[in-house]
Amino acid sequence: MTDTSFLQHLATTRSDAEFARTAAGFAILQIYDSVKTNGLSSFQRNALHRIESDVAGLDAAPNVRTALEAMACALQFWESAGPVRVGRKATYTSLLMYGQALGSEGEWAMAAKVFALAGMDTELDGETWLAAESRLMMGRAYRMCADWEMAQIAYRRASQLGRESGDLSIAFRAQIGEANLLWSRGNLQGARLRLTGIARQARRSCPSVVPRVTLALAGVANMSGEYEQAISLAFGLLDTLDDDDELKYQTLVDLASFLSDYGLPMVASAALRVVQKASPERHVRRHATLNLFFLAAHHEDAAAFDLLRAELAGERLTARQQAQFALFTAQGCRRFGRFAEARSAAQRAIELASRYEHFQLVFEAETELSDIRRAMENAPSGMPQRAERSRSNTVAVSDDVMPNPSATSLDWDSVPHEIREVAESLDFMAARHGVGTSAAMNAAMSGAR
């Protein structure tokens, strides 16, 4: 593997644990390369056994460890089973698992390289379905890295390979990814047209993909400021997704983002609480908690803020999430008048974001720090408000934390009937999952009734 992204990452790691897990991944990819080229020898077999025992003691997220163990195990069966090639299929699947695990830990640059490697090798090996899947994942990883060109190339290839392999859902998902690239670059009209066309085709030939198109259309509506339509589209989907947990929780997170942008942060919290409580994926729950913390920092009381802060302090966060956690802590502490605490949290956010080169977060944390200093100079109550209501500018809302708060919450009485129904349904859903809605939301809703 000639790519240097792993080496670059190793050179910039700041903890032994991070170095060890990246090195284990790099070592396994080197052995994979060697087995692929030269076949499996006793030397490589011994190396795989050693890595297997090392991986067991790694301080890594469970999905990273599982993926590395799967790679080490599958490689030992590389040439097994004749023309059916079970070992190769298992190895390629493990490679994809490793890429996904890196992605869920926020290491999108390394994930993109792993998917690119898997895509190239599976294609050269005639494993068309796995190649299509790899290219689809590669497109997403590059989109998360904001490398639009590479993302587009990957999505186009995924679409071709998806059709070739007979899996239209991959082909359509790749097309949705390409449309999402359009709106990520600001071409909302183009994205809407494209998605409408995809929806029309998908209804005819691959109905299972229609909910994903609808969710993407809701994202475009939200970006266009058509919040009510975005909320209605996303909420309408929920009833149809009983057997698809992944998409159900993605929809709830996106719906929360739309509600927050619309000016109903308390209702957004209800949706996120359901995800936090019920999602089977640990990283999705963690992501929801971080989003909840963000909303608490801007809209809830100090008790709710401190509770979530304590919860997140014990969580294993990715580098980006650590920086976000510090930033939201600073924002919340400033709001509650704890300026010294806010200042040190903002400084930590700047330090973390600079170290891991998340420059947008550096900018936001620096702005926050100057706001804190101004507030300290003026009066305890002089918290500057951002003048305009700003929308999420993330690549895909379910992939990131809502970055900007709405300046004000909407008055409940001015909320249209349909959106109130959405809020009440989410409230009911939260209650059914045993997560009571916040006092603020209860007060708002009962006042309106």
């Binding site: 799967a70 059916v84 994942m137």
Partner: protein, 290 residues
């Protein structure tokens, strides 16, 4: 189990077998039901017994498992001795792969009849291509296009096409299409799965496109095949003839046609005259000269 229920949907019923003793007892009786098992839950010894039972009473097998040493040890045995199709857990779209594996399982009897008719031709192929093609017919899985097949057998596409033609087959593409047809045969003749679903699972744009392939390869449409099923031997005869009919044409006085999927790329490179009104931009995109 949830994945299996979701994959089967309303197209069939799922019966859960709680232990290997009951599984082996069930396999000792002739049945056409598809067996979905997790190889991680059976020892290599049990996998050998399962393989022996399936050799005696053939039935479709789908192995669905996460990647682990235990799973792979049993999987290797199943792959060598049964027509099992493998789906490993861990990919984002594994549900759609599992759905295709469960709903498009080849008909063992039809495959055996077809392969026996193609045996002489298949024996003329190099081992790598022959084994690969046989595995594709038996499992309903494998390369989905001629290019993917050539990649899988590590041969240049043209070399593989030549081997296929020399063995008396019409074309590589037709062979790949035939593996799709055999994968869909059971779903069409023995289930009520809608044709649009089957067409979609095979990657055809529409039911009509799938029917065009069925007409080409079996002289019948999917609808007719469901309402008036051909006998397995009859279907195998027709398909075998469609796969090898080029040989017959060679004997006749009709001029020999090139294989239908022979690539025209060399013709282009070696100077088919480019129309005058088309010029190439520096980027390589053709533009129309006003």
């Amino acid at each position: 189990m949830g994945y299996v229920y979701a994959a089967v949907g309303g197209h069939g019923t799922v019966e859960s077998i709680p232990d290997t003793r009951q599984l082996l007892a069930a396999l000792a009786l002739p049945s056409d039901d598809c067996l979905v098992l997790d190889p991680a839950l059976v020892t290599p010894g049990i996998a050998q017994s399962i393989a022996a039972s399936i050799a005696q009473y053939p039935r479709p097998v789908v192995a669905f498992s996460s990647v682990s040493t235990a799973a792979l040890e049993s999987s290797v045995i199943l792959a060598q001795r049964t027509p099992a199709r493998f789906v490993f857990r861990g990919t984002a779209n594994e549900r759609s792969l599992l759905e295709r594996a469960i709903l498009l399982t080849p008909d063992a009897e039809f495959c055996a009849a077809l392969l026996s008719r193609l045996d002489a031709n298949l024996n003329l192929l190099p081992a790598a291509i022959r084994e690969r093609l046989v595995a594709m017919f038996r499992t309903g899985d494998g390369p989905d296009s001629p290019d993917a097949l050539s990649a899988a057998v590590s041969l240049p596409r043209r070399t593989m096409d030549r081997y296929i033609a020399d063995a008396g087959f019409v074309s590589t593409r037709r062979m790949v299409e035939a593996t799709h047809l055999t994968a869909a045969y059971r779903a069409i003749t023995r289930s009520r799965i809608p044709f649009t679903t089957i067409a979609s699972l095979l990657g055809y744009k529409s039911h009509r496109t799938m029917d065009a392939q069925f007409t080409l390869l079996l002289d019948t449409t999917s609808g007719k095949l469901r309402t008036r099923p051909l006998r397995v031997t009859e279907a195998a005869d027709v398909l075998a003839q469609r796969l090898t009919e080029r040989k017959t044409r060679q004997r006749s006085s009709v001029p020999r046609n090139p294989p239908e999927d022979a690539k025209p790329s060399l013709t282009l490179i070696h100077g088919r005259p480019r129309p005058r009104h088309v010029r190439l931009k520096a980027s390589g995109e053709p533009t129309t000269n006003p």
